[in-house]
């Protein structure tokens, strides 16, 4: 079993714990339980990024991203998605987050680095559009679970064609 140990705080994390946490997160997203999902983020450091498809490893301070949310923007995004006036998601898309190849990569300061592959299907107006890529999470162990310091979804798609938009949470 893959584990990672943060010696300083003697935290041991197993892949199974991470997978269960990721599956719970995916369920929140697919059931549009977005306020619960928002609470997974660290109040100060929480952030969510999707780089442009042609610059997957760029820096949001200097490059154009599809999504580069700090906490005020992410809170606004969730409020908008639940407001009824985000027409791109009203009616809400059906989505299904499929997560695999979960890897614990070790610690970066106080953050556990986790990578996982994803395929997220979006069903809308008879179209099925798959969003394919890799997540990188920077997780802070808190009270036997985790808070998200950073959630980054790097798309393998060469273009959002024919997807057109990233209006839900990938």
């Amino acid at each position: 079993m893959a584990t990672a140990t943060l010696n300083r705080e003697q935290v041991t994390v197993t892949r199974q714990e991470i997978e269960e946490w990721l599956y719970a997160e995916a369920e929140m997203l697919d059931t549009w339980n977005l306020n619960e999902w928002l609470a997974l983020f660290d109040e100060e450091r929480g952030s969510f990024y999707i780089p442009a498809t042609d610059a997957p490893y760029s820096d949001h301070n200097t490059a154009l991203f599809l999504i580069a949310d700090d906490m005020p923007k992410l809170k606004s995004r969730v409020a908008q998605l639940l407001s009824g006036v985000t027409w791109a998601e009203n009616p809400q898309s059906r989505t299904r987050h499929m997560i695999s190849n979960v890897r614990i990569k070790g610690w970066e300061d106080d953050m556990l680095i986790v990578k996982a592959n994803f395929v997220v299907y979006r069903m809308r107006f008879q179209n099925i559009d798959p969003y394919i890529g890799e997540y990188t999470y920077k997780l802070l162990p808190r009270n036997g679970s985790f808070k998200i310091a950073e959630r980054r979804a790097i798309l393998d798609l060469e273009a959002l064609r024919p997807h057109g938009k990233v209006s839900f949470i990938v």
């Binding site: 301070n61 154009l64 606004s76 409020a79 060469e158 273009a159 064609r161």
Partner: protein, 439 residues
């Protein structure tokens, strides 16, 4: 239903006297119309291809589709910018299959190993002795785009060898407005290119990119949620009546610029009141002041205000939209009547300090792009229009009459869309520019 038989005549009702303007919905769904648009518009216009900052040094290149053709844009070893057709003269394979690269010395077709230098000259043919004396290697370089023009770093190409000069195609008004955009600084395309699409006709995005009327409704969340979450805006949105501008003879508001080019707002030296300016003032105030000082030093106070005030959203006919308040360059091309491929970039001044650049990017994402807080709702809306057009036999016409006969009551005009459609109709029916595109 009138049977237009792929003929554009009669697809527009333009009654300036009564103040009625309608577009027949077959214009959005008909394969024959798209075929005509390709022949008479896209193949006979100056099309935006890219920006020099994307391939600044000798050996730098990008590849992309322009007007339906695969094109290489390259700075050659002699320092010249070239637009080359990306197809091997031998049997057709793409000679360059990367989206972007640096330090290229040659383009080598992997199919049979033919080698071209970065000027497009054919320099190597494996087993060249197999060809007869009539075979002329010199004439088999990569074919350049028939016309290319570099306007201050913006690269335009045309597939019509007899295309009129870029300056004459643009005309003085459109040149003035694009130069106002480019005067913001030493402009560059920021890393990160939005490549997306819509399941909708391309002309819907022309209309939408210049549509002031939809903003308060389609983008309600921007005004009621995003701006307040950033501590900005009263939530009034663009339907809030603007103070009557002073009667000083200056051009303001939506303006036809000739040849189908049109802006929603002619730039003026009125104090910048754009959302962009407010956002930057709030989040990078000191750095913006410093930037403004540089702008004033270079252009003088009045011109600096005009540059920073921007020009609203404007169309360089047929498919370049510059959304000045957000630094957006957007172009798109139809692959079928109900589907288009879209490219979006951010054009920003190299003079930006890191904090100002970050603020510009944040402002951009506050509205623009397929993951932004507004663009996805446009995608949704236009795809909905396209679905609605399946009723075109029963519901034949769309209405674009707002603000005709000089009516300024009741909010934004649709003049800018009529300008586009008038040029569109003239091109498809006569092959010439419209004589007059205004109301």
């Amino acid at each position: 239903m009138p049977d237009f038989g792929g003929n554009a005549a009669g697809l527009i009702i333009d009654d300036r006297e009564s103040g009625i303007f309608r577009v027949h919905r077959s214009a959005f769904i008909d394969d024959d119309i798209l075929k005509l648009e390709r022949e008479r518009i896209f193949d006979k216009s100056w099309l935006f291809a890219g920006h020099i900052s994307e391939f600044p040094k000798p050996g730098d290149f990008i590849t992309r589709n322009v007007g339906g053709r695969p094109i290489i844009l390259v700075t050659s070893d002699d320092g010249e910018i070239r637009a080359l057709m990306n197809t091997c003269r031998h049997r057709g394979n793409l000679v360059c299959r990367e989206h972007k690269g640096s330090n290229a010395e040659v383009f080598r077709c992997f199919y049979h190993g033919w080698i071209y230098n970065t000027r497009g000259e054919l320099k190597g043919i494996p087993g060249e002795e197999a060809y007869s004396e009539a075979f002329d290697r010199e004439s088999l370089g990569l074919e350049p785009a028939p016309k290319m023009h570099n306007h201050r770093g913006c690269i335009f190409i045309s597939f019509d060898p007899d295309m009129e000069d870029f300056e004459s195609y643009m005309g003085p008004d459109a040149l003035m407005v694009i130069d106002n955009t480019l005067n913001l600084g030493d402009m560059e395309f920021v890393e990160g290119h939005f490549k997306y699409s819509m399941r909708a006709n391309w002309k819907l995005l022309v209309e939408n990119s210049m549509d002031g009327y939809h903003a308060a409704f389609t983008h309600e969340r921007f005004f009621t949620h995003w701006l307040p979450s950033m501590g900005l805006g009263g939530g009034g949105g663009p339907m809030t009546p603007q103070p009557t501008p002073p009667n000083d003879g200056k051009r303001r508001g939506a303006q036809p610029m000739g040849n189908g080019h049109v802006t929603t707002a002619w730039p003026t030296s009125d104090r910048p009141i754009s959302g962009q300016a407010s956002y930057l003032e709030k989040f990078a105030g000191a750095e913006l002041e410093q930037f403004r000082e540089g702008l004033v030093k270079k252009h003088g106070d009045e011109n600096a205000r005009m540059i920073e005030g921007r020009a609203g959203n404007y169309l360089i006919f047929p498919n370049l939209l510059i959304i000045d308040g957000w630094c957006v360059f957007r172009t798109f091309y139809p692959t079928s009547p109900d589907y288009m491929e879209i490219s979006g970039w951010a054009a920003m001044p190299k003079e930006d300090s890191p904090g100002l650049r970050k603020a510009r990017l944040d402002w951009y994402l506050g509205f623009q792009g397929p993951g932004g807080f507004a663009t996805p709702d446009d995608v949704e809306g236009l795809e909905g229009c396209q679905m609605g057009f399946a009723t075109h036999k029963e519901v034949e016409w769309s209405d674009i009459s707002r603000g005709m006969k000089g009516n300024t009551k009741g909010g934004p005009t649709e003049l800018q869309m009529r300008v586009f459609w008038r040029e569109w109709e003239a091109r498809l029916t006569t092959g010439q520019h419209a004589e007059y595109t205004g109301d």
